[in-house]
Amino acid sequence: MHNILMISLDNWYFLLNLEHQFYKILKNKNNSKLIMRKLLLLVLFASTTMATYAGGYRVSVQGQRAMAMGHTGVAVVNSAELVFFNPAGLVYLENKLNISAGASGIFTDVIYQNEDLLLSSETDNSVGTPLNLYGSYKVNDWMSIGLGVYTPYGSEVTWPTDWPGSHLVNNIDLAAIYIQPVLSFKLSDKFSIGGGPIYVTGSVNFNRNASRTLTDFEGNRSNITVDDTGVSNWGWSVGAMFNPTENFRLGFSYRSEIILEAEDGEAVFSNFPNSTSLPANGTTTFSAELPLPAELTLGLSYQFHKKWLFAFDYNRQFWDVYESLDIQFGNGSTSLNPRDYKNSSVYRFGLQYQATEKIALRAGYYRDESPVQSGFFAPETPRNDSDGYSGGFSFAITSKLAIDASFFYLRFEEVDESYDFATDPATGARSSFGGTYKSSAFAPGLGLTYKL
């Protein structure tokens, strides 16, 4: 409630300022009412329909300009954001040096209730801050090099401690930072390829109660925290871009699956009763694997008017690699948590309007299918299918430097779902935890684009 109010106030001022800017610009340009109305319509469209998140723990916020257009970009040649979206496109950027940096603040909220048992709860998540930093440099007419740092996977969910689903999760904080050098080659004016290796470093902090009922003698719930940082591995991505006409581009990109293998991470057992039949309190190690699934993107962009650009991306995310979250503890305990995710798709649509020389307005929509199957709806990643609405703008302060702003809103239908595979560590019996969930996510973001 508090968070949301703050957001809305921020945006109130944000929008007022924007309006003020437009007004000044328009007055200067003196080409008045018609454009004014168009602008307002666009802003209205963008905000009433508002944004980009994706299923599972994929956080699709990898560029402010793309984000504003529904996170399309595999066939949009616009900025160094292409390092992520499609390295093949970098070589078509006009400038020698391109730098894009940005960050968003993701405000998420999940509410839960069970009407039969009269349970309810709400997350108190801190603000997620996906970051991205991209640069590209045109070595010669047919080759560009680039570097990207971005955070495509992560999850931050904090339920009240000991809430009704606390045997599944109290809180989780996952983060993965991708660092990627790329090369981009122009094979012709119509065709280019690109790609590069990815270095990932990830971290996890996950706490949950040991079972639905286990407590120490004083009644404090027994719980386990796993924590590990600097879990690293390598992957790669490739892309291709085809420009059949001057105004029409097709793009393809593929980013490989990367399995983060936590070895000898830290696990802390707390509030276990003093019993030789149970793990002892204190610190031990853990190992676990968390897959960061591969993603395939196909898309197009079409400059259908000198001021208007339309983009469409299709993402296929190969979540079926996430079969189970199995944690092996150094004290001999194990925790097996079936996930059984399925591959999922996201359909993205974006629109850009070059309103003035200095101002570009953007809006987008996407349909994000959840990889979570019925009966596997765990409250650590409580995502069902969603609709994303995004908007934003770029304002060129100088010919070299522009401010990029974006925001998105993810709209989820409320869903009656359950996780049916919670296993009691003592009896091995499975129980179901379910009810009605509803989520929302909202993220304003700001960035800078520099070109030389």
Partner: protein, 528 residues
């Protein structure tokens, strides 16, 4: 122009506020739960240890918090129920600081150093801090008093005899029912009568069955609570309680009494626990059988060959028990054994085996027998030495359940079970009859516990059974329910309230309620 645009922006801002997720039908605004014809605004619970939340042989805070009346009251709160108070103990240890021997801390489940061989032990991680001489100064919604029998609730001055009531009795001569009625309950629960048979049952039937004696005056019953209350006494007293409770128009729910064979206290120790695989017992079998051969000849000679005692070398054997319903053949046995053992020892053995037999599947061994079967009874051995039996032989004839028949207090023989069952059936007829006559909700909890004992009650996350320690239904004393079973009782009551009064109440998921507590902070080191 600008004004208009600001209007648009205001709409936008409102749109952003709407980003916060909200359910179509939030449960905190749901009013579908109702009390029906009942009024839950003042709920008073009457009963014994079950109502108080006594578990693991002690009363302690978390047990009280998970008592079925407290679980129920939290659900009643969604249909007009008011505050529900309980006479909470001072700690989670249980027992009384004034008398920790009679009122020890609770039982916990300890494991050996390998995390195996669980056994109950008395918690020793702290000492009881509850002082029963300090009166809590008020009455409580939960008026459950551990140990109470049906006639105790109307017994003036019961608080001076039972510290659990003494802690919150309004006056020295107060009655439980009087203090309950003084709260003007609009709704009550009454689950009483268990102790009217259970004291007799848990003590192996050493007390008196007043359906046999015909004694209807409870003031003359065993102070230790070992007797069976006369059926008419039960009916009359129970009726008075109901009359008092419904007198001011209160609605209520009553619960009947479970069969003792539903309780792990009576079903855990098998009648034939003596395994030839036991390293201590197995090697003794040939010697034992040789010794018993002489006795068995005497049984045959006297005409009771069915009392023969033999131990199998291939299968578990039944313990030897004393069956006080058998004809006492001590004299004849002494006579028959004298040529073999001499007059002195023959006299002792004659008395020891005059009513002995091996147990059968129809006998119920109480939980407390598990600690003594196969163990040397040192008192008996000393007694035999005193009677002139050589030390070694005295020891040989003092092994509980093997050479020394298990005493009455450890065994419920079929006659005793029948006495208990006769009384229970009569009590339950009274309870159900009065419920019907007064339009009260009735819970056949006996049926539920019978299901737990025969296959189990499935729930989201397992099955509740009456298996000792592992079944989830009973605490470590083998008699009192776990929080999970209390939750089951609360759900059963809500079912009855729906049926009788049309009350719509949200049930609980019993899998969210715990069972027993594991701890190795115990007085005794693990024993095998």
């Amino acid at each position: 122009m600008i004004k208009n645009n600001i209007k648009y922006l205001a709409v936008l801002a409102l749109g952003l506020v709407a980003c916060e997720p909200e359910f179509d039908n939030p449960i905190d605004e749901t009013t579908s739960f109702t009390s029906g014809e009942a009024d839950f605004s003042k709920y008073v619970a009457l009963g014994n240890s079950l109502t108080a939340g006594f578990a693991d042989n002690a009363l302690y805070i978390s047990g009280q918090e998970n008592s079925y009346p407290n679980i129920l009251a939290k659900r009643l709160a969604f249909a007009g129920g008011g505050e529900f108070t309980q006479p909470l103990m001072s700690d989670d240890i249980g027992g009384f600081s004034n008398d920790p021997l009679r009122f020890p801390p609770r039982l916990v489940l300890e494991f050996d150093e390998n995390g195996e061989n669980p056994s109950p032990g008395v918690y020793a991680g702290g000492v009881p801090t509850t002082d029963f001489t300090s009166n809590l100064g008020s009455s409580f919604n939960n008026m459950g008093v551990p140990g109470a029998r049906v006639y105790h609730l109307g017994f003036p001055g019961y608080g001076t005899a039972n510290p659990y009531f003494g802690r919150f009795a309004s006056a020295a001569n107060a009655t439980v029912i009087g203090d309950a009625l003084a709260q003007n309950p609009t709704f009550f629960s009454l689950w009483i009568g268990n102790n009217d048979i259970l004291g007799y049952a848990t003590s192996g039937g050493v007390g008196e069955d007043h359906n046999v004696t015909g004694n209807t005056d409870p003031s003359t019953y065993s102070v230790a609570g070992l007797d069976i209350t006369n059926n008419n006494t039960f009916a009359g007293t129970y009726s008075q309680l109901i009359t008092g409770l419904v007198g001011s128009g209160a609605k209520g729910v009553v619960l009947n009494l479970p069969n003792v064979t539903s309780l792990p206290f009576f079903t855990t120790v098998p009648f034939a626990p003596l395994s030839p695989l036991s390293p201590t017992f197995g090697p003794q079998i040939p010697t034992l059988n040789a010794t018993y051969a002489g006795l068995n000849q005497a049984f045959a000679f006297i005409g009771v060959p069915e009392r023969s005692i033999t131990f199998s070398e291939t299968a578990a054997s039944a313990v030897v028990i004393k069956d006080e319903s058998l004809t006492d053949i001590s004299a004849a046995l002494t006579q028959a054994l004298t040529p073999t053992f001499g007059a002195g020892l023959a006299g002792i053995l004659g008395a020891q085996f005059g009513q002995a037999r091996q147990a059968t599947a129809n006998d119920l061994l109480v939980l407390t027998s598990s600690g003594i079967i196969g163990e040397l009874d040192e008192d008996r051995a000393a007694q035999l030495v005193g009677l002139g039996v050589p030390q070694e032989q005295a020891g040989q004839f003092s092994i509980n359940g093997v050479t020394l028949p298990l005493d009455d207090q450890y065994v419920l023989i079929p006659d005793e079970q029948a006495a208990i069952e006769t009384a229970r059936v009569a009590y339950n007829t009274t309870i159900q009859g009065l419920a019907t006559a007064n339009g009260l909700a009735f819970v056949d909890i006996a049926a539920a516990l019978s299901q737990a004992a025969n296959g189990g009650i499935p729930f989201n996350g397992g099955v509740v059974t009456s298996a000792f320690a592992s079944g989830g239904g009973f605490s470590l004393d083998g008699v009192h329910p776990t929080p999970r079973a209390h939750a089951l009782v609360a759900n059963s009551i809500m079912d009855a309230l729906e049926e009788t009064y049309g009350a719509q109440l949200p049930r609980v998921d019993i899998g969210d309620f715990g069972t027993i507590t594991l701890s190795n902070d115990v007085i005794q080191p693990p024993s095998n």
